[in-house]
Structure formats: C-alpha cells, structure tokens
Symmetry: D3
Subunit: 127 residues, 6 copies
C-alpha cells in the first residue's frame, strides 16, 4: 500500500513502532482496490489520530485497547492489541489481571471466550 500523504505514513509508522514490525495489510483475492482506503482510514483513525496523542501514555492506551477488543469479543483485533500490549511493557500477569477484572464487570462468558485469544498469544514465541 502506498502512503497517500504524510499523515497516513505517520499512522503506519506509529503502528509499526507499537507492533515491533511493519503493519502489512495486503489486498485479498477479489477485493476491490478501495479496500486499501478501508485499511488506510482505520489505521489513520486508530494509530494516527489516537495512539499518537500525548494525552494518555502508551501503556494505558494498550490496556484500554485490549479491554475494548475483549469486551466486544472481536477476536482478530484482540490478538493484535494483545501483541501491542506485550510489546509495550504490559506483562502477561497484568493481562491476566485485566481478564480477572473483565470477568467481574463483563462476566464469565465474555471473559472466557476472549481469554481463548490470550491463550493463543501467550503460546506465541516472544523473544
């Protein structure tokens, strides 16, 4: 994906910095080219317009992001946010504590369901 402007480039850079590797979102088979606009706008809204703001520290944003994705039950976004959190100073024990908190407030059903994704991320190799 080519960056259309400086703002987009900065958003993708911010994402790469948080993930520890480039955010690559190639078009799928049969997907129209406008699919790039979808990726670009979502990346700009999240990484460019929010993560880049100085008003809340990165660690707090990571906890908030994991919490949103886990509460909504959105599995792939949760996977990405867990990787970002672990890559930015949140420990595995703190992730577990977040899910203990989620269990109390959003319930055992949602917490267990989303925790399956955490288990998959815990099992990945993080050097």
């Amino acid at each position: 994906m080519e960056y259309r402007d400086a703002a987009t480039a900065a958003a993708f850079e911010k994402a790469a910095e948080l993930l520890g590797k480039p955010l690559e979102l190639p078009l799928g088979r049969g997907e129209p080219e406008s699919g790039d606009d979808f990726r670009r706008l979502a990346t700009q809204h999240a990484f460019g317009d929010s993560w880049s703001r100085p008003g809340l520290d990165t660690r707090s944003r990571a906890l908030v992001s994991v919490t949103i994705a886990a509460t909504l039950g959105t599995r792939e976004p949760l996977r990405g946010q867990l990787r970002i959190a672990l890559n930015n100073g949140v420990t595995r024990d703190e992730i577990v504590e977040l899910f203990i908190h989620l269990e109390a407030y959003a319930g055992a059903a949602r917490a267990f369901d989303s925790y399956q994704v955490a288990l998959e991320v815990f099992a990945e190799d993080h050097a």
Copy 2:
C-alpha cells in the same frame, strides 16, 4: 424440508430468488425434528415477512441486512447477506464503502473483525 403451507413456500422462494439458488437447511446429526420449525420460522420472519414487502427496495434491504449482521458480528449470517447483496446489484466497492462507514460509527475493532468475512466472500467465484 417440506413446506407446511403457502406462506412458508413463498418465504423459501423469496430466499432462493435473492440467493440465486435454493436455501437448503438440512437437519444435523442428533438434531431433533423441531429443528425444522426453527429454520422455517426464521425464514418466514426474514424472507416472508420482511424481504417480500414492497415498502423498501431490495438493494436497500440488502445494505441494511449486511449492516445488521456486520454490526452484531454474526459471521455466518453476514456471509449469507454479503452473497445476497452481491447477487442483487450491490457492488464490491459499495460493500467496502459500507465497511468504511461501519468503521466510523461502530469502530475499527468490529469493522475489521467483520471485514474478514467480506474478504472470504470476495474470494469466492461469482460468475
């Protein structure tokens, strides 16, 4: 599944017309026969009682249906609605635009998660 009455038959015909092929919902292993009632009632409520009404055009109903399934994060219903939309004059570019709109109003987490289903449908062969 045998049609119990004319209303049910009409609902399944409407579904077939929209999908471009018969809606087949065979009973599963170990599933009681009342499972047919579940399929019949859901089909009647959606295709018989709503899609068949003249008050809103088919294209608009298709967009509304995709939006509901994508907002709820219900993957198999979303898959079916995307096929119906593409089969009834909604273009792939318009599907992408719908997800760009969803990203703004329902957020990047839900939009990305549901978009995975769109990618799978885009990759299917549509003659």
Copy 3:
C-alpha cells in the same frame, strides 16, 4: 469550536448539509478543552472521511447509519441519524420498513427499544 484546518471545516460543513443546520457541539460545564478534540475527531472520521466519499450514495449511507445506531442501541446517535435520513430523502415509511427488517434480523427486543427513538423523531415537526 474553531476549525483547526480545512479538513475539519469540510467535515463540519458536510454534517451541516446533511442535518440541514449547523452541527453545534459546545463544551459542557467542567469538561476539559480537549473535549473539542473528541468532537472534532469523531466529526472528521464520520462526516469527513466517510459521508464525503462518492462511492456510496447519501441515501444508502443514511440507511446504513440508522441501522448501525439502531442495532447498537445508541439512542442519541440514532436520533441524529434519523433526522439526517428524513432530511435526505428517506421517507417515514421507509424508516418503518427498516425497523421491520431489524425486527427480523436483530430481534423484537432491540427493534422495539430503538423504535422508541424513531417515535420521538416522528413526533418532531419537520416542515
């Protein structure tokens, strides 16, 4: 709220055009000034980055927007989207049809709950 740049101004203009009156979002008592950034970014993401795109017609975006807000059960956003829809060529009968469709796919509980907001908007005077 002063516009920080041309993109923000264009987003607020688009919102005003759709609503038929300026989108005014004054700071509340005790709210920090950064609250303006929240309004500005949300307005830009929705009205600047999505509604302004040519790939999906305004009427379709209006139906999609009402559907998202009604499915989520977000009452104030639903109120705004219903006003935008009625202001941009969607009829009251079509709004009712949308809720009939919502009743089938998202259920009677959510449909009835969100329909209360539609009843309030129907009761407003629309010249």
Copy 4:
C-alpha cells in the same frame, strides 16, 4: 389496531393472556400507518410463533425472555417481560436469582444496569 387475520388476533390474545391485560400499541404522532405492521409482525413473531408453542412451558419462556432482554440491555422490553414473568408464576425472589446468575455470566455492569428496571417493576403495585 384491527386484526388482519386470525393469526394476528391469536397472537394479540396470547399477549393479553400473558400480560393480564390487552396489549395496546397505538400509533404515535407523526408515525406512518405502516407502524401498525411493525407492531403486528413483532407481536406475531414473539407471541404467535413462539410463546404459543407447546414445546417449552410458559414459566421457562418467561425466564428466557427476561434473560434475553436483560442481557441485551433493552429497557422497555425488559420491563414488559418482567411483568409477564411475575404474572405467570415467577416469584420476585426468582427474578433476583436470575440477576445473580446474570451477574456471574454477563457481568456486574450489565446486571446492575438492567436491575434498575427490575427495581422499577418491583415498586409497581401487583395485586
């Protein structure tokens, strides 16, 4: 609302039997007449097509209905379902137990929020 056919009449009768009084859903100011179709279809789907079936006893359906409305956080439907439950042999203590169960599985936030509606219904006079 005039009943269009025997099935609709039966659905409204079932609703009245469960509520202990007629289900009256008058059109609102500015609401188009098609609003009657919305009420009729929702009533038929819920009371005609589900509550009237013999396969699950009324008390169980009442518990299931309260649970759905409470889990979704749909306040007015929850109010109606709580009245139906209390009117059909579910005790106030059992309603509380249902919310204790909801607290465990759907969390303290949703359970407390929906419990506010239960408190309002408990305060009504039930002869």
Copy 5:
C-alpha cells in the same frame, strides 16, 4: 489446579456435578500461573456463588445460562452450557424451543449464529 480453600473446592465440585465430569482447566503454554486465579475466580463466581444457591432450580438456571451465552454470542461458554443443560434434564427439543424464542427476541442473525454451536453439541454422543 489445587484448591486453595473449601469454597473453591465446592465450586469445582458443583461444576463437575453439573457437567457430569471434572471441570479441568489446565494452564496453557506461556500462560502465567496467575491464570489459575482467573479460572478459580470465574468458577467460584458462577458455580460456587450462583449455581449452588437454592433459590432457583437447576433446570431454570440451565435455561438462563444457555440464553445468556447464546445472546452474547460467546461460543465456547455456550457449548459448555448446552452440555450442562442436556445433562440436567433439558431436552434437545427444549433447546430448539429456546432458540425459536431467541430468534423472535434477539433476531435471526444471532439465533442462527449461536445455533451452529447447538448443532455441534447435538452431534456429540450423549450416552
């Protein structure tokens, strides 16, 4: 997992009684030991603090539990609750009726999506 106290042991016993076999929740690869606390607290909250209470019969709690998990769309918890329901006197036909009720109140999209899990559980061998 070792039981830290009598209350935890009682909660796991209650779960085993309902499931018809021990509830085993081993730590995953890379998961910190605090993961045991997550399992323990969720088990205690659900099975110790709610299922063990006499105020609502087991069959009713089973129906309520299936309803919560199906309404939320949490697949693994739904699978577990369906097994508990079938193991405690709820018939397959009654499960289908519950989904027919869910279809009316929470909609065809959610009902169909969650019903996929019921189909998988129906296909399991239950001696």
Copy 6:
C-alpha cells in the same frame, strides 16, 4: 446491609476507599430481601475479588473499568466508574483521551452515547 462475613466487609471497605464515600445500596420498595445477596455478591466479585488484587495498579484498573462500562453502554455503572477514576488520579483530560481511543476502536456511535454520562460527571462538583 449487614456484612455477613469478613470478606464482604473488606469488599465494601475497598469500594468505599475507591469512591471516597460509603457504597450504599438500600433495598428498593417491593424488592425482596434476597436483593441484598445480589448487591453483596456483585460487590464481592468486583471490589473484593478483583480491585483488591495487587497484580494491577488501581489507576490501570480504573481505566479498564471505565472502558468496559463505556464499551457496553451501561450508563449507571459507567457513572460510578468515572467517579472512581477521577477520585483515584485519572484526570479529566485522560478521560477524554480514553473516549477518543474508544471512538476509534468502538466507533463514534457508542463513544458519543457513553460520553453523555462523562459530561454529566464532569458537571458534578469534585472538590
């Protein structure tokens, strides 16, 4: 409400410490006495079993709690969590940033709807 045991008392003390005043949850008119059990268990699960754990700092738990309640759209729990957050070192600007983050990931509709509660809390007098 009398405390049944030391664990309950500790949970209510923790809640009072976080809120800066006693957590008072009197029974409502017509509410059965078992309503106290609902309050007690929810308080124990949230404040006793999660907030009291040392594994995640109070400020982080406050951000996570606000995020859960805002994402779910549970208004009264959100109000309580916002007060706890402001009472425990989270600034108003940080609350706004959390909602900017929520807008990106959970969308403008949910973020705006939940932000109405933040506006009400901002308008309260906090000495």
